[in-house]
């Protein structure tokens, strides 16, 4: 059985937008998996960071439906260790931004329980809004 994958960047609009927004060139990634091995939240991701990058490069469908980039909290652990100096958190932020532009905000403050709003430190709430809304 054979399968053809088009790594044709002209046709890969999502990859182009992600690269423009994040300032990262994903062709540089050599799929070593260090980011996935480092990430404290990889178990909760439906696609580890290295495979997310691979699917973006191949232009595979369904990337924007993934949960992985909403799980990423931007802890910079992977970015510090990436041997190709790719800022994975910037790639994740670009995907969040594109998803928000296409589908709207992921979080509505009005829907959070009053007790949550009262107890949370302001930095938690503001950070969450900055990452989950446009």
């Amino acid at each position: 059985m054979s399968m053809t994958i088009r790594a044709d960047s002209q046709a890969n609009e999502l990859l182009q937008t992600v690269e423009a927004l994040s300032g990262q060139r994903l062709a540089a990634c050599y799929q070593c998996g260090t980011c996935a091995a480092t990430c404290p939240f990889v178990a909760a991701m439906d696609l580890p960071p290295d495979r997310l990058i691979q699917q973006l490069r191949f232009g595979l469908p369904g990337v924007l439906e993934r949960r992985a980039f909403w799980v990423c909290v931007g802890c910079d652990s992977c970015a510090e260790r990436c041997p190709r100096a790719i800022a994975v958190p910037r790639v994740m932020e670009a995907l969040r931004l594109i998803a928000i532009r296409e589908r709207g905000d992921r979080l509505a403050v009005a829907q959070l329980p009053a007790a949550t709003l009262r107890d949370l430190p302001p930095i938690a709430l503001v950070a969450s809004l900055r990452r989950n809304t446009g």
Partner: protein, 292 residues
């Protein structure tokens, strides 16, 4: 020593005890923090895409105001404020053209060319006051107290603004040892606690703080000592309730206890002291000695 001080929103809301303890220990060390006359929220997170440059304005506004108020450096206690201000400052130095573009679209008040320095209080203690001076001020050494220092993310990463080695930091260990405490360490000290996911994905945070507290406990720690108000909230509220959760303290409170300051001056409740067996025993012994 006098330094300009940027508190940030959380220090004035859920982390007041950290500020209270910081001001108390700094008074004891002869350092005065002067709160900026006017300040705004720093924006909390550094903007990571090229689309929302306007969001860099919040931290830059803080730094521009600082310069207007005649200061060159500013201290913060909050790890998130520190990280956001320091990264915006770095950007202002490295890519001034970006800021010129943002400034052009706003008022002239916002001229800022990256000539201020952003300091975390831990840097002030380590590099200005010095750990030797800290040790010299200790009145009640924390002997017998076994603590697990937790660094989290924002003090260390990205390493371009971090204040210690991102992989093997030693700052909190050195500080706690200077107070006479026994330090328990492990690789989860620098792993993220889940941060703002506490808002709508608390299960992510619960998993991390549970694993980290378990590592601390396995090493024999009786308390977790940390710096970030968000880490504090997460460890304080999301450790599993079955079994006693490890108590969480700001480093400023632990320094204050070693200085012999009263728990009330450090925003500590008796309940929290009672969670630390060596301190409780010591207090009991002192109370007995006092009564005799």
């Amino acid at each position: 020593m006098q330094l300009a001080y940027y508190p940030g929103c959380t220090i004035k809301a859920s982390a007041r005890q950290h500020e209270q303890a910081a001001l108390a220990i700094l008074r004891a060390l002869g350092v005065e923090l002067r709160e900026m006359a006017e300040w705004n929220c720093c924006g909390v997170v550094h903007t990571l895409t090229s689309a929302n440059l306007i969001r860099h304005m919040a931290p830059v506004r803080v730094l521009a105001r600082l310069r207007q108020q005649g200061a060159h450096e500013v201290v913060t206690l909050c790890d998130m404020c520190f990280n956001t201000l320091a990264r915006a400052n770095l950007l202002a130095r490295q890519q001034p053209e970006q800021f010129a573009a943002i400034s052009a679209s706003t008022d002239s008040e916002l001229r800022y060319d990256g000539d201020a320095s952003v300091l975390h209080l831990l840097q002030v203690l380590r590099d200005r006051v010095g750990l030797a001076a800290l040790r010299a001020r200790v009145r009640r050494p924390l002997r017998e107290l076994r603590v697990y220092p937790y660094y989290g993310c924002k003090l260390l990463r990205p390493s371009t603004v971090g204040i210690d080695d991102p992989e093997i930091p030693t700052l909190l260990r050195d500080l706690l040892e200077a107070l006479g405490a026994t330090v328990i360490e492990g690789h989860l000290q620098t792993r993220c606690c889940g941060a703002y996911q506490a808002v709508d994905q608390p299960e992510l945070v619960a998993e991390r703080v549970t694993a980290t507290a378990a590592q601390a406990r396995a090493g024999g720690a009786e308390a977790i000592v940390l710096s970030c108000p968000l880490c504090h909230f997460n460890f304080d509220t999301l450790q599993p309730r079955n079994g006693a959760p490890l108590p969480v303290f700001y480093y400023t409170q632990v320094i204050g206890l070693a200085f012999g300051l009263e728990p009330e001056e450090l925003g500590l409740e008796t309940r929290q002291i009672d969670q630390l067996p060596p301190l409780r025993q010591r207090d009991r012994a002192q109370a007995k000695g006092g009564a005799a």
